[in-house]
């Protein structure tokens, strides 16, 4: 784990996201997939973003790297990288930022590599796009990168095609590709989900080492709390397009403040605790068309009160973290209201 004293608190944030909203216009109205999300990442910091499928975590990542798929679009809000706005850049300029200053790692290493080009061609092309290098220099840098991500026999393997690599090795190539131009920030979207556990451990160790050595900040998007616990400095928990809780990883995991985070932590089967039943949160996350008024979590919440049904909570300081829950407000949740879902 990266010691928290590594990040000086007076540092200006590397990435600032302010009131980001991502929407999808559809025939039956506009869906708000990411709703008023704000966070920042300090240089060298690993911010974990967790949530269940459909919580909007990948969309937030895609909005930052400027790869929202139409008709999805940023409706409002700001994204700043090193103080400069990047959310409204023209396509060509964003292309230069992406790759040079922001690297991206996606879930499936097979789809993020071109199967028709050799690894060397893909690496050299990326390096030459962003750095002024000759073909020979770029090739040497590509070999060095492959060595750095732990591919044995990099000199020979560089001319292989993606299908000649195993899943774990392919993900290493993708990481090398993201590191080509020495980016300041890497957005890693489920980088270990497609891999076996033993390979997963290798990839996480690699990511951690590279960030330490290069001082690269990482936004790690995943649904796997275990990966977050091992890798991240801070965590943002997303629910139905909003941040439910954000705080230092230790506090969020050991002492969650939001009822959703609490339930989520309890529902993860862990070694060392073999109870009869797992804690479960009844029901499921609402669809985007059916997000209830007030707090989006209220139909599933055991602590809900009258206020939760009408008024939407913002992030409120709670211990070392901040949680979007009226429980932590001085006025509280109001008169208790029974939970709707009796789904055992």
């Amino acid at each position: 784990m990266v010691p928290s004293d590594k990040i000086p608190s007076n540092n200006a944030p590397l990435l600032e996201v302010k009131n980001l909203r991502v929407e999808f216009p559809t025939r039956r109205g506009t869906l708000l997939a990411v709703d008023d999300v704000s966070f920042d990442i300090a240089p060298g910091e690993v911010l974990g973003v967790v949530g269940e499928s459909g919580a909007g975590k990948s969309l937030t990542g895609n909005a930052i790297i400027g790869l929202l798929e139409p008709p999805g679009r940023i409706a409002s809000g700001e994204i700043r990288l090193e103080g400069k706005r990047i959310d409204n850049l023209p396509y060509e300029e964003m292309r230069k930022v992406r790759g040079a200053r922001i690297g991206a790692i996606f879930q499936d290493p097979l789809t993020s590599l071109n199967p028709l080009y050799s690894v060397s061609r893909q690496l050299v092309e990326t390096i030459q796009t962003h750095l002024p290098m000759s073909a020979a220099q770029a090739r040497q840098r590509a070999i060095d990168l492959l060595k750095e991500v732990g591919i044995p026999g990099a000199e020979d393997r560089i001319d292989h095609y993606p299908h000649q690599f195993s899943g774990g090795m392919r993900q290493r190539v993708v990481i090398a590709l993201a590191l080509c131009a020495g980016p300041r920030l890497i957005v890693a979207d489920e980088p270990t989900t497609a891999l076996d556990v033993s390979i997963q451990a290798q990839i996480i160790a690699l990511l951690k080492r590279l960030c330490r050595e290069h001082g690269t900040a990482v936004m790690l998007v995943t649904h796997d709390m275990g990966v977050i616990a091992e890798t991240a400095d801070r965590v943002a928990v997303m629910y139905a397009g909003r941040i439910a809780e954000v705080g230092p990883v230790r506090d969020v995991i050991k002492d969650a403040k939001h009822p959703y985070t609490k339930g989520l932590m309890g529902s993860i089967p862990s070694l060392g605790h073999r109870g009869d039943r797992l804690t479960q949160i009844d029901g499921a996350m609402p669809r985007l068309t059916e997000i209830p008024p007030g707090c989006a979590f209220n139909p599933r919440c055991t602590f809900r009160g009258a206020r939760c049904l009408v008024e939407r909570p913002d992030l409120i300081p709670a211990g070392a973290s901040r949680a979007a829950c009226w429980l932590h407000d001085t006025r509280g949740v109001g008169a208790p209201v029974a939970k709707e879902l009796a789904d055992a």
């Binding site: 899943g167 090795m169 556990v197």
Partner: protein, 347 residues
């Protein structure tokens, strides 16, 4: 739950093998002088499952665990070996219908609830199909009552029967799969990664439901998973597979407290640590070799830190130890000591 009184060998798998032919076409082979190529997906495993227990198979992708599941329910015929279910051999090919009474008692739940339900059928028909196929209802009213009961058992409402699968979330669909599997009143359920396509909070709901149903109907589970924490939670006994072979099997607590095979230890070491006890995860070098051309001797030897010449040459047999069994020369010779691990006492 298991005790001394239960009848052993409810399900008995002996020397089960399944090879897949992945050779090039005959003409290409003859012209290029290439040999036949076989994937030894399952290469001789023995498992015994007692009535009422949950036996789990864990391993990484490609180790053959899903093939075992498919062999047990008869979706593949085995290349060799026997599968006995309550004393009857179900592995031999028989004329159609001969197995139907046995088939009724054994059902399967699949991994992907998006692919395992027919999108053109209403939920009622999906669940009613096994009841109709095995002739288990006395009439329309009885059929409707049975389906309603099944839907209620999996925490859905009878009104959900009129909907189509696409109207449900992943977790709800997996409940429908479970209801369908329960429709023929089976005694033995083969579950192939039933929760790995689901989110954690939904996974907890499904695991709790499966444990409740097991208690209520005395079900026996063969549970296939790659998630060791889930396996730890739900199983009575666990078998660890590597490249088509069983390398270790033991009661759950023993396996997690005193793992023996180096591969089991490695798998346990790689579980992400939610407790953040600072335990160093030791990433093991190397990856699972191809089952087309598995390593000689013990197939784990290229990745094993304790391998010697004997491991490279001789395939270890599964030998009984501490209530379980392990296939490892280093353990057998006493080169590798068995130690207590501390995860089981972390919380």
């Amino acid at each position: 739950m298991p005790d001394g009184a239960i009848k052993p060998q409810f399900v008995r798998i002996q020397g089960l093998k399944r090879y897949f032919d992945v050779s090039a076409p005959w003409l290409v082979r003859k012209i290029e002088g290439r040999p036949r190529q076989l994937v030894r997906a399952v290469d001789g495993i023995d498992i015994e499952i007692a009535r009422g227990e949950t036996f789990s198979l864990v391993g990484e992708s490609g180790c053959g665990k899903s093939t075992v599941a498919r062999l047990v329910v008869g979706l593949y015929p085995p290349t060799a070996g026997r599968i006995e279910f309550d004393g009857n051999d179900i592995s031999a090919r028989r004329r159609q219908g001969a197995h139907s009474t046995l088939r009724r008692r054994l059902q399967m739940i699949f991994q992907d609830p998006f692919a395992s339900l027919n999108p053109r059928w209403r939920v009622f028909d999906i669940i009613a199909e096994p009841i109709r196929a095995f002739g288990l209802s006395s009439g329309k009213a009885d059929l409707e009552k049975q389906v309603s009961d099944l839907l209620r058992q999996v925490r859905l409402t009878p009104a959900d029967g009129r909907k189509f699968p696409h109207e449900f979330s992943g977790g709800q669909r997996q409940r429908i799969s479970i209801a369908r599997a329960l429709a023929s009143r089976p005694e033995f359920l083969v579950c192939d990664e039933p929760t790995s396509a689901l989110d954690v909070s939904v996974q907890a709901q499904i695991l709790n439901l499966m444990m409740d149903l097991q208690r209520r109907f005395g079900l026996t589970y063969l549970f296939i998973s790659h998630n060791l924490a889930v396996v730890y939670h739900i199983s009575t006994r666990v078998g660890v597979m590597y490249l088509g072979r069983l390398v270790e099997q033991a009661p759950t607590d023993t396996l997690f407290k005193r793992p023996k095979h180096p591969y089991t230890r490695m798998l346990l070491d790689t579980i992400p640590d939610l407790e953040m006890t600072g335990r160093q995860r030791s990433p093991v070098a190397g990856e699972v070799p191809s089952p087309i051309d598995p390593p000689s001797g013990c197939t784990f030897h290229p990745r094993c830190p304790f391998a010697n010449d004997r491991c490279k040459a001789e395939r270890p047999a599964l030998l009984a130890i501490e209530g379980g069994a392990v296939a490892c020369h280093a353990i057998e010779e006493g080169r590798l000591a068995v130690e207590d691990r501390s995860y089981a006492a972390a919380r």
